[in-house]
């Protein structure tokens, strides 16, 4: 086989291979959708993060605007410190409310940001002051049982 034909075939092979990689990156993976080019960091403290994971989505009005980049435990206040990478295109007011929510009944947990009315915006490295922790099912049930019990038999 002469060298030109060989080169042609090998070029064809490499081109298909790269096309397959691009397909995996863009169509199968999320390289096109949610890898933000520029991000800035915000922090938030929660009493309980439930099942939140690193790389979990941060959504506002249902749109993914960032990802969870780090979860730490603060030994002084006994709270969880969550660092968020927010897309640089989006700014949020100072009194934004961060809560840990669950998508669907048993889906993954994410952080929801509800914008407030403040005119000042959160800057890089700011702490989101108002947060709501994850709802832990066991606590909810025990609270419900406790209320039922305290209502007692006199309710009949």
């Amino acid at each position: 086989m002469n060298r030109k034909l060989l080169d042609l075939w090998v070029g064809f092979f490499v081109a298909i291979g790269i096309a397959a990689l691009l397909f995996l990156a863009l169509k199968v993976g999320n390289l096109s959708a949610s890898n933000f080019l520029e991000t800035y960091q915000l922090a938030a403290k929660f009493d309980n993060i439930g099942g939140l994971k690193v790389r979990g989505p941060v959504k506002s009005a249902g749109v993914v605007v960032g990802r969870v980049s780090e979860i730490r435990f603060d030994p002084k206040t006994y709270e969880a410190v969550v660092t968020l990478n927010i897309d640089a295109r989006y700014q949020f007011p100072k009194d934004t409310f961060a809560s840990i929510l669950t998508s669907g009944l048993l889906g993954e947990q994410y952080i929801g940001l509800d914008a407030g009315g403040d005119e000042k915006m959160l800057k890089v490295g700011d702490l989101i002051a108002k947060t709501q922790s994850a709802v832990v099912l066991e606590k909810l049930i025990s609270q419900f049982m406790f209320n039922k019990a305290s209502d007692g038999p006199d309710k009949k």
């Binding site: 086989m1 060298r3 060989l6 080169d7 075939w9 090998v10 064809f12 092979f13 490499v14 298909i16 291979g17 790269i18 096309a19 397959a20 990689l21 397909f23 995996l24 990156a25 169509k27 199968v28 993976g29 999320n30 390289l31 096109s32 959708a33 890898n35 994971k53 690193v54 790389r55």
Partner: protein, 264 residues
């Protein structure tokens, strides 16, 4: 009785000794291979020729088996997922299992039996017919002229083949899930894109296939180079290539998986 024990222990010792010696030679061989790679890159068409033999000629088997693996994953995945009413997650199942594990591993196994075995046979026969010795006599280094191009051809083509396998498998899953069974197309792709991460899943799969490519190519050229130069010796070397490559791929896969996907 004592004589027998002595002979058993001596045999065991010889075996350990032999395999350690072989391991040492393999390590030395690998270093030599890397040292002479520079020389072989100066005549790049040798490597391109090997890319043709190990890459292009493996295209058909890789693409067809990728398609069938994807089809089977689609069918079986749908069968189980629809019991829990979450058949839209079919795309996630197919894409994650292919990019993380099945793509690199099955492509590696196919590559070892399709391309690795033929490299071993070629080098082994060259050794049996004393072509390697003849090259040495003509001051042509067989490491640079024969071994290094075959090694690099395998290392380069393996990640590309694994990517093609995964892409073809995802297409197979799409074919069964969306075209034949009728899973919602938008949900199929969007759920897949939401849970397949480029760095965590796709890139780690590529790294895996690259490592498998190095392992398989090294085993193939080494077994050929180290084979006993007889018909029987070459056939045994080819068997060893396929068996050792399969074991190496599966063991390395476990090690790499435990590094890459721990905890998260």
């Amino acid at each position: 009785m004592a004589k027998r024990i002595v002979s058993v222990v001596a045999g065991l010792g010889r075996r350990v000794n032999d395999s350690l010696q072989r391991l040492g030679f393999a390590a030395r061989f690998f270093v030599m291979l890397l040292v002479y790679s520079g020389q072989s890159f100066r005549r790049i068409h040798l490597t391109i020729r090997e890319l043709f033999f190990s890459g292009v000629l493996s295209l058909l088997i890789i693409l067809v088996s990728g398609l069938f693996v994807g089809l089977v994953l689609g069918l079986q995945g749908y069968e189980t997922l629809q019991r829990y009413g979450s058949s839209e997650a079919l795309g996630v199942l197919v894409a994650l299992s292919l990019t993380r594990e099945l793509g690199p591993v099955i492509a590696g196994l196919l590559f070892a039996s399709r391309a690795g075995s033929s490299v071993t046979a070629e080098i082994g026969l060259m050794k049996a017919t004393e072509q390697l010795t003849a090259m040495d006599m003509m001051a042509v280094n067989p490491m640079a002229r024969i071994v290094a191009p075959r090694f690099w051809g395998g290392v380069i083509s393996m990640p590309l083949l694994a990517a093609m396998f995964s892409a073809m498998g995802v297409f197979g899953g799409y074919l069964i899930g969306v075209v034949f069974i009728g899973v919602d197309e938008g949900a199929f792709w969007s759920q897949m894109q939401a849970s397949v991460d480029f760095h965590h899943d796709v890139l780690n799969g590529v790294i895996k296939s690259f490592v498998f490519g190095i392992a398989v190519s090294l085993i193939a050229v080494f077994e050929g180079y180290d084979s006993i130069p007889t018909a029987e010796g070459v056939s045994r070397a080819i068997t060893r290539t396929v068996v050792n490559s399969a074991l190496a791929i599966l063991a390395l896969d476990f090690v790499l998986t435990s590094f890459m996907f721990r905890g998260i």
